[in-house]
């Protein structure tokens, strides 16, 4: 079957996406789970251990506290309370920490430091898997065993005010709730007022047992203006006064009832130096945790530093404090200071309950649990505990009893720590089989792409895909047989769960057929290449293709980038690699231009022998090209003869200056957004612009950018889309004014801030309109097939629609990125690609490089925290999954997508040869899938690396998303190519 190389590449990338998806599913492990579900957990609590004499205490111990108030402040990192900020802005809390009846801890959150997984961790005590981030926005009901469910089952009345995520997680658990939404990050007063306004009423009423408050304001301030902003101080002071209000009310109630209450102040995650969260810096991991209750005894003058504990410990502590069974999946250990004041027998009982729960979890998740040190310690302490009980029940020798009790307690605490640690480690278990299958698919596709380079980049841009012969070959059936046998063996013998085994037989069979068919295709392509190679080597007259410096640079740059993915620092600072590469690319282009211009001036008048020699070589090169065997055509020499002559004086100067203009643009963009890890805290223009003092500057810049965007884009549009574009850009400004980013000149005060839904929808309408006009033009060009211009206009309209959407979705200070991107595209088109006549492959790779660089110029990095989620809500009232995900993905990958769509419209309008588009599609597919495949192998080999969760996994998610987008782009390319060939 003959296929165009574009279509072939698109198919390959689509298959590759399947492979990557399978790999990802295997790579991100399912978290540690107890096999019994929450509903089935009706089993009685473990009785007290006893040696000989039977203990009479088999029921759960009674609750320690009557009421519990949990005050969760989003993004409360430890130094906001325990550091200098805490002393300055939270005087009451500092007093409680230093002198009051409280226990303070620094609770370490685990990755990912995003709200929903952290709430789950706090309430279940388990460690949610990394993949939970992806489901962060759309949180389904929490079905795992957790404190809230247990409390509800025990008849406690729970009230909740705060972040809506809780209501989604626990839809039927609260007797009264008011969810605030966390979508408008720029609002940091109203979200908290909505929580606090209920407080007075609720504190007066006595009809509840548990009150949960989740304050979002602090985190919003962090997102908008960072942890060193003065707003943080105000917010902390507000929180302090709220804490004081709750505490005094609880104390006054205690005076009447004489039963202690518990007040918990905690943060879900920290805040990085730039104000985001999601990664693993110390500032994001360390959160404050303070337990306040009159039950805690404190000697005067007893100064303690907050101890480091795990965030998961809170679930077990809360369960014990409320007299509930500890959640089944909890890996945390009891915070012992909270029960220190109780009698020894109760203390030991609590520790025993916790240890039994942990060891049960260990038994269910580790096959060789008996050899674990924690389990052995637990068994020993249980024996000792039994001895202690016997002693306690028989006699009352206080000295011996006390010493033994202290020993048992120490042993239990050790056992708990070891158990908790070994359970936390269990999370990192990979589903190797699925990963392997995914890798095999990806590698086969890559080798198929690599092997078909010569044929696909030839003039015809078509290649013979051996599709039917392999299906009937012996090799195919043998591979299929071996694979099925392997599948059966692996799936029947595997102990841990495996995703690929869990698939239905039909799907698994389909994947196996795919794998073996690809293998056969690779083998036959290999055979063909070697056959050709022999043929070529028989022909000694075949001249070696010459590579220009640009080709060498492109090749080396790609290789270097792929190799650099092996080091975690290079991944964190990948933007440096891209900036470096595009700078070098510009300098290489500059060299090429200058050589062409100046040397020609030099040699033309005298016609030195050099030129004649060049003529001969050019002729050879042209012959060489006509054979169609070479992948990269020799240029440089042949090109200089025809280009640049026709240019007049002014244009020539522009050509000479253009690389420097581009370099300057890149340098400016570089200082707009500091990204990465090492230098992310450096001051940059973006922060300067978004700070509230510089609103006027930002407004001027925004207006200017929008005007330049219009001027650059409107050149090739039809009249209707020109008008639509202008109105759309006007709408963008109105939208930004409505959400309070920029000012209108006549509007002095920053009045009411709305969501800007109407304005955003107004722009959406125009985006859709322009896209529709573009599509209509494309269809028309396909049907009528008169001339190419309609198609060019259609493609440009689609491109301008995307530009308009990007202008709407970008962060307020990022509009210059869009402007410079358009400017560079225009300059490159006019003064570099056209005069120098690069071939399609080179132009594609340059587009790809610039696209990648613009991905980072936007302020993105290989870190989940930099994804701008708020882009998903532009123009939406509530969270609707499909458009929100689409908008966020587009806003994040706007750079690569815009450059790719520019590539399509440029190639279809400029080049004369019909095969340019399919060449471009093939190159794009190849150059995108190369890093992905290499990265998958690297990640597999580095899966026990220290930074695997913090650095490599987010990058893997980005790469997965990137290959998906590449697939979409390639399909678009192919569609354009098809219409081209038809017309």
């Amino acid at each position: 079957m003959r296929l165009g190389s574009g279509a072939f590449a698109a198919c390959c990338v689509v298959i590759e996406v399947l492979g990557v998806a399978l790999f990802l599913r295997g790579f991100f492990p399912a978290p540690v789970r107890s096999s019994s579900r929450a509903e089935q957990r009706a089993e009685p609590a473990a009785p007290e251990p006893s040696a000989g004499a039977s203990s009479n205490w088999t029921k759960l111990p009674p609750p320690l506290f009557k009421k519990v108030v949990i005050m969760l402040i989003d993004g409360l990192r430890d130094d906001f309370v325990f550091g200098s900020k805490g002393v300055k802005f939270m005087p009451y809390t500092t007093y409680l920490v230093e002198k009051g009846a409280s226990h303070s801890f620094v609770a370490e959150a685990k990755l990912p430091t995003v709200t929903m997984p952290r709430i789950k961790a706090l309430m279940t005590g388990s460690l949610p898997g990394f993949i939970d981030v992806v489901r962060n926005l759309n949180s389904p009901e929490l079905l795992e065993d957790n404190v809230i469910t247990q409390a509800k089952a025990a008849g406690k009345r729970i009230i909740f005010y705060g972040d809506e995520t809780w209501v989604k997680l626990f839809p039927k658990h609260f007797v009264e709730y008011d969810g605030t939404t966390s979508f408008f990050v720029s609002d940091y007063t109203e979200v908290d007022d909505n929580v606090t306004r209920h407080l007075d009423k609720v504190l007066k009423r006595g009809d509840w047992d548990m009150l949960i408050l989740h304050y979002l304001g602090l985190d919003h301030i962090g997102h908008v203006s960072g942890p060193s902003s003065p707003l943080i101080g105000h917010k902390l002071r507000e929180m302090d006064s709220i804490l004081m209000k709750i505490h005094t009310s609880l104390l006054s109630e205690e005076r009447e009832t004489l039963v202690p209450n518990l007040l918990v102040l905690c943060g879900d995650h920290g805040m990085s130096e730039t104000g985001g969260h999601g990664a693993s810096s110390m500032e994001e991991l360390n959160t404050a945790l303070i337990l306040i209750s009159s039950a805690f005894e404190r000697k005067p003058g007893d100064i303690r530093r907050p101890k480091h504990v795990q965030q998961t410990d809170l679930a077990a502590t809360l369960a014990i404090g409320l007299g509930l069974p500890i959640p089944g999946n909890s890996v945390g250990s009891l915070l012992f200071p909270t029960v220190e004041g109780r009698p020894v027998r109760e203390q030991l009982r609590f520790l025993h309950l916790n240890a039994v729960q942990l060891s049960k979890l260990l038994q269910e998740n580790v096959p060789s649990y008996e050899k674990e040190p924690g389990f052995e310690q637990f068994k020993m302490s249980e024996r000792l505990h039994g001895n202690w009980i016997r002693l306690y029940l028989e006699e009352n020798n206080s000295e011996v009893l006390f010493n033994l009790g202290a020993k048992v307690r120490r042993q239990y605490l050790d056992a708990l720590r070891t158990l908790s640690l070994s359970l936390s480690r269990q999370v990192a278990q990979y589903d190797i089989y699925s990963m392997l299958v995914g890798t095999v698919v990806v590698l086969e596709v890559l080798s198929l792409l690599l092997l078909s380079i010569p044929e696909a980049l030839s003039n015809k841009a078509e290649l013979e895909v051996p599709l039917w012969s392999p299906v009937f070959s012996l090799l195919f059936y043998l591979t299929l047989l071996v694979l099925s046998a392997l599948h059966v063996i692996v799936c029947t013998s595997a102990e841990s769960s495996c995703y690929f085994c869990g698939l239905s037989w039909l799907t698994a069979g389909g994947v196996m057929v795919l794998v073996s068919a690809l293998l056969c295709a690779v083998v036959s392509a290999l055979a063909k290449t070697f056959g050709d190679g022999k043929f070529l080597s028989k022909n000694p007259a075949h001249p070696k293709p010459r590579w220009s410096e640009l080709d060498v640079l492109i090749l080396l740059g790609t290789m270097g980038h792929v190799l650099s993915l092996g080091a975690s620092s290079f991944i964190e600072e990948e933007h440096q690699t891209w900036y470096f590469l595009i700078n070098t690319l510009c300098l290489a282009l500059c060299h090429e231009i200058y050589r062409n211009c100046l040397l020609r001036d030099d040699s033309e008048p005298q016609q030195c022998p050099h030129v004649e020699e060049e003529f001969i070589r050019t002729a050879a090169a042209l012959q060489d090209r006509s054979t169609g065997c070479d992948t990269l055509e020799p240029h440089g020499v042949s090109r200089s003869l025809t280009s640049l002559d026709t240019l007049r004086g002014y244009e020539k100067w522009m050509v000479l200056a253009s690389p420097w203009v581009i370099l300057t643009c890149c340098r400016l963009l570089r200082s707009l957004n500091q990204t990465g890890v090492q230098w992310a805290h450096r001051p940059d223009l973006g922060h300067w612009l978004t700070s509230s003092d510089h609103k006027a500057e930002l407004s001027v810049l925004t207006a200017l950018s929008l005007i330049v965007i219009f001027a650059l884009v409107q050149r090739k549009c039809s009249l209707t889309s020109k008008v639509a574009l202008a109105l759309g850009l006007l709408g963008v400004y109105c939208y930004r004014a409505a959400i309070g980013n920029v000012l209108f000149p006549w509007q002095r005060d920053s009045k009411d801030i709305s969501k800007g839904v109407i304005e955003a929808r107004f722009v959406h309408v125009f985006v859709l309109g322009i896209l529709f006009t573009g599509t209509k033009d494309l269809l028309k060009s396909q049907v009528i097939a008169t001339d190419v211009t309609i198609k060019t206009v259609g493609l440009w309209e689609i491109y301008s629609g995307l530009v308009l959407l990007a202008a709407l979705l970008f962060r307020p200070h990022n509009l210059p990125v869009l402007v410079f991107s358009l400017l560079i595209q225009t300059i490159m088109t006019k003064f570099i690609w056209k005069p120098l006549r690069h071939d399609a492959a080179e132009i594609t790779i340059m587009h790809y490089w610039f696209g990648q660089a613009f991905f980072y110029f936007q302020g993105n990095s290989n870190n989940i925290a930099t994804v701008d989620i708020s882009a998903g809500f532009v123009g939406l009232d509530t969270y609707i999954e499909v458009p929100a995900v689409f908008l966020t993905a587009f806003a994040t990958f706007a750079g690569p997508v815009l450059w790719a769509s520019h590539l399509v419209s440029f190639l279809s309008s400029e080049t004369s040869s019909g095969s340019a588009l399919s060449h471009a599609c093939f190159c794009y597919a190849l150059i995108c899938s190369f890093p992905v495949s290499a990265y998958i192998i690297l990640v597999t080999s580095l899966r026990y690396h220290l930074f695997i969760w913090s650095v490599f996994s987010p990058k893997l998610l980005y790469e997965g998303m990137h290959i998906l987008i590449t697939a979409a782009i390639c399909v678009f390319f192919t569609a354009m190519d098809q219409t081209n060939t038809k017309s």
């Binding site: 620092s569 470096f580 200058y594 050099h610 090492q678």
Partner: protein, 206 residues
């Protein structure tokens, strides 16, 4: 003729390398607290001065292209002044390129500029010595198949390997074991270590 040329070439290169080694060793006798890593700015200055001096001396002694037909004093002076201007221009040019590559604009100006100076001593000074202030000749030497003599060939190889060395020297920057513009030293070492094989190659291939 060719053999003597190769011999002279070899000696000049050896002398250049020797001068760099000297620039590391000698100042430690005269200056307190001298070490490459800590007082790298001083060292950069000294090194560039040494290399320039050695290059000039060698040029005067060896005279690879004894083609100075006119030898009037005024011609020589203007030529020398032109060379100085070219050298300064190349320093500023490299400085601008470093800034475009992402060096900070205001802070660390001195480091960046000194690095530009040393790169131009390794690349521009030999070119000036050998070819004189003649842009066309430079372009000829650095384009493909423009080399006419063994001296030009060695010049081409050393200069290009210096550039590539500098370029590659930027790669360790993202690794988090030191401050960014201490990198000047790293780059320098890289640059030299790429020059040396380049020279040897240059001599051997002739």
């Amino acid at each position: 003729m060719k053999d003597t040329d190769i011999k002279r070439l070899l000696y000049t290169h050896l002398l250049c390398i020797f001068s760099i080694i000297l620039s590391i060793c000698i100042p430690s006798f005269f200056l307190e607290n001298f070490s490459i890593l800590e007082t790298h700015l001083t060292w950069l200055c000294i090194c560039s001065v040494f290399v320039t001096a050695v290059n000039l001396v060698l040029y005067l002694i060896v005279k690879p292209n004894a083609s100075s037909k006119r030898s009037s004093i005024s011609y020589k002076v203007t030529r020398f002044l032109k060379c100085c201007i070219y050298f300064l221009m190349s320093c500023f040019f490299f400085h601008v390129i470093f800034v475009l590559y992402g060096a900070p604009l205001i802070e660390l100006v001195l480091e960046t500029f000194l690095f530009a100076v040393i790169l131009s001593t390794f690349t521009t000074v030999p070119c000036l010595c050998l070819l004189g202030p003649n842009i066309k000749a430079w372009l000829r030497v650095f384009s493909r198949n423009g080399v006419t003599s063994i001296w030009e060939n060695s010049l081409q190889i050393t200069t290009i390997s210096s550039f590539i060395g500098t370029w590659l020297g930027a790669f360790p920057i993202p690794l988090d074991w030191e401050r960014p513009w201490q990198m000047a030293i790293e780059r320098k070492k890289m640059c030299r270590s790429f020059c040396v094989p380049g020279m040897v190659l240059g001599t051997v291939t002739q």
